[in-house]
Amino acid sequence: MSGTAHSAVEHGHEHDHGNRLYFLTWLWLLLITVLEVGVVLVHMPRAILVAVLLLMTVLKSGLIVANFMHLRFEKLNMIYIILTPMIFALIMWYGVALDY
């Protein structure tokens, strides 16, 4: 009965470090969040602050997508599905940036 919970196209190596990977990802996400709040409370030039915050945000989103959403264990084609809208978003941001 317990066998019913196995997905058809499972990758063997996910079993090995599953919970450990989630735990480490969780720790990293919390740590980066603490750092984010920390840099806001420390006074620094605004341009640097914004750059540092955006960098940490992208890092956090990468951790979530790669580890929690398992994208790094998927076929390259799945990764392309996620990257494609990001390319459209970049085109949009470029178009918006032209106005400034």
Binding site: M1, H6, S7, T33, E36, V40, N77, F88, V96
Partner: protein
């Protein structure tokens, strides 16, 4: 339907669907169940919706020239930081639920799903509290006491849209959890629900930085 049929049915159907998919061109390009592929494609489109909303917010903020100081609006960062911690943690318990469901550990899966729902409820409650305090201070969709109407317009629309995603996710998780309690679930079903929940967390990571920190 007997109990054994009921528990075996969902996954057997998933496997059948993968093995006998309509794909006729040799090896499947995704090698993934259709439910998971469908969720990924939906999330890819949702990425664009949120990217557009957040871009509009950025444009509004840059065009406004002045923007209310966050220390005047939010009473410190403690509440939103706590909300962020809770949502990130609920994403972790969701990942653990997926792992447990895959191993076929029904009890652990249900326990982690319930923790995830608890986190989501706390988050939604805090958001309701925050909205209420802002509205009490006089913030409206098209106006606010801080003199920059664009602030409350983008804040209410974007956090509202995200909160709507959280609410939808909670209903989704509740259904999955009830099924899991009855043993009528598959690792795949929990995994697809997990993708949605992680996405909600992912969007919040951006909202947290763009609205509360920058």
């Amino acid at each position: 339907m007997s109990t054994i049929e009921a528990t075996q049915h969902p996954l057997a159907a998933d496997q059948e669907a993968v093995l006998r998919s309509e794909w006729g061109g040799g090896r499947s390009p995704f090698a993934t169940p259709h439910a998971k592929l469908g969720m990924w494609i939906f999330l890819a489109s949702d990425v664009l919706v949120f990217a557009t909303l957040l871009t509009a917010y950025g444009v509004a903020r840059l065009k406004a020239g002045t923007w209310p100081d966050r220390t005047h609006i939010f009473e410190g960062l403690w509440l939103v930081t706590l909300m962020t911690f809770i949502l990130i943690s609920s994403s972790s318990t969701m990942a653990a639920a997926v792992g447990a469901a895959r191993r076929g550990d029904q009890k652990a899966a249900v326990r982690f799903l319930l923790l995830t729902i608890l986190g989501g409820l706390f988050f939604l409650g805090s958001q309701a509290f925050e909205w209420t305090s802002l509205i009490r201070e006089g913030a409206r969709l098209m106006s606010n006491p801080w003199g920059v109407p664009q602030f409350s317009a983008s804040f209410f629309v974007i956090t509202g849209f995200h909160g709507f995603h959280v609410l939808t996710g909670l209903i989704y998780l509740a259904v999955i959890t009830l099924n899991a309690m009855r043993g009528r679930y598959s690792g795949l079903g929990v995994e697809v629900a997990g993708l949605y929940w992680h996405f909600v967390d992912l969007v919040w990571v951006f909202i947290f930085t763009l609205f509360y920190l920058i």
